[in-house]
Amino acid sequence: MSQAQALERFLATVERRAFRIARGAVRDGDDALDIVQDAMISLARSYGRRPATEWKPLFYRILNNGIRDFMRRRKVRMRVMTWWPSRSAAEEDAYDPVAAAPDPAGGPLQQLEGEQALASLEAGLAALPGRQREAFILRALEGLDVAETAVAMGCSEGSVKTHYFRAVHTLRDRLGEHWT
């Protein structure tokens, strides 16, 4: 298999999961798409010639950095925007036909419950400190081992274990007993 084929296959396995992670963090689909696209291109440019076994932690490291940069820029933008008059409540509540359209993938009650559960999970993750959130996503959701997570987070394996342990306990307390 050529390097391009290997990279294509790797990106196909992570792109949707990366989108969900980014979407959960920034709460906007288009912004999440931009972040994931930038991460994929950065991986190809900087590490595309490296062995495929190295890609996963590197990709998540780039993705995490992208999400962090985005959040930082948005925080600055929000500070600046407080100096400008906001839109009126009527404008905010105006009917948006796109937002009101049914989700093409939606329908059954089960899906609704799934969305609600995912929303709870995303809210719980969003409330975690940044490093704990990263450790939990990489270890529990993406299945990276401690060493790979340490590469992705740019920290020691001991720090990964500490962040992960705290994240699990905080998240369990926050999401409630019915999650266990």
């Binding site: 999961r17 969900r20 994929m40 995912l118 369990r172 266990t180």
Partner: protein, 124 residues
């Protein structure tokens, strides 16, 4: 406690995986396009991939700006109008004029020799 943790992690993973499976067609299409764009980066020469061309263009513009600033009659002339500055401006002019570059290409070794050789007075 470990069993509880394992169950919790399994549940969280299942919820997340189901969420990944529900991603709509538009987003999947955009992600596919992004993937193709990323893979295409591999085919580009290292010079382009690393962004060296834009960096080189910025450097060239910076050199041009400095040279224009330092040239006779330029903004920087009043404070830096030394012979060295004049030489720099002349050199730059030589570099930006295509004809002179062609001249240089004709016999680089000859010009190198001229520069090193001690010529008699009145010559060169």
């Amino acid at each position: 406690m470990t069993d509880n943790n394992d169950r919790f992690e399994s549940r969280v993973r299942a919820v997340f995986d189901e969420g990944v499976g529900r991603i709509d067609g538009y987003t999947r299409s955009r992600l596919t396009q992004a993937r193709f764009a990323a893979v295409a980066e591999l085919g580009k020469p290292a010079l382009w991939r690393g962004g060296w061309i834009p960096a080189g263009a910025v450097a060239a513009v910076a050199v041009l700006a400095v040279a224009l600033w330092l040239q006779p009659g330029g903004v920087g002339e009043a404070t830096l109008a030394t012979p060295r500055v004049t030489v720099l401006a002349d050199d730059f002019e030589l570099l930006v004029v295509g004809e002179d570059l062609d001249l240089l290409n004709e016999d680089l070794e000859f010009y190198a020799w001229v520069a090193e050789a001690e010529l008699p007075n009145g010559v060169g």
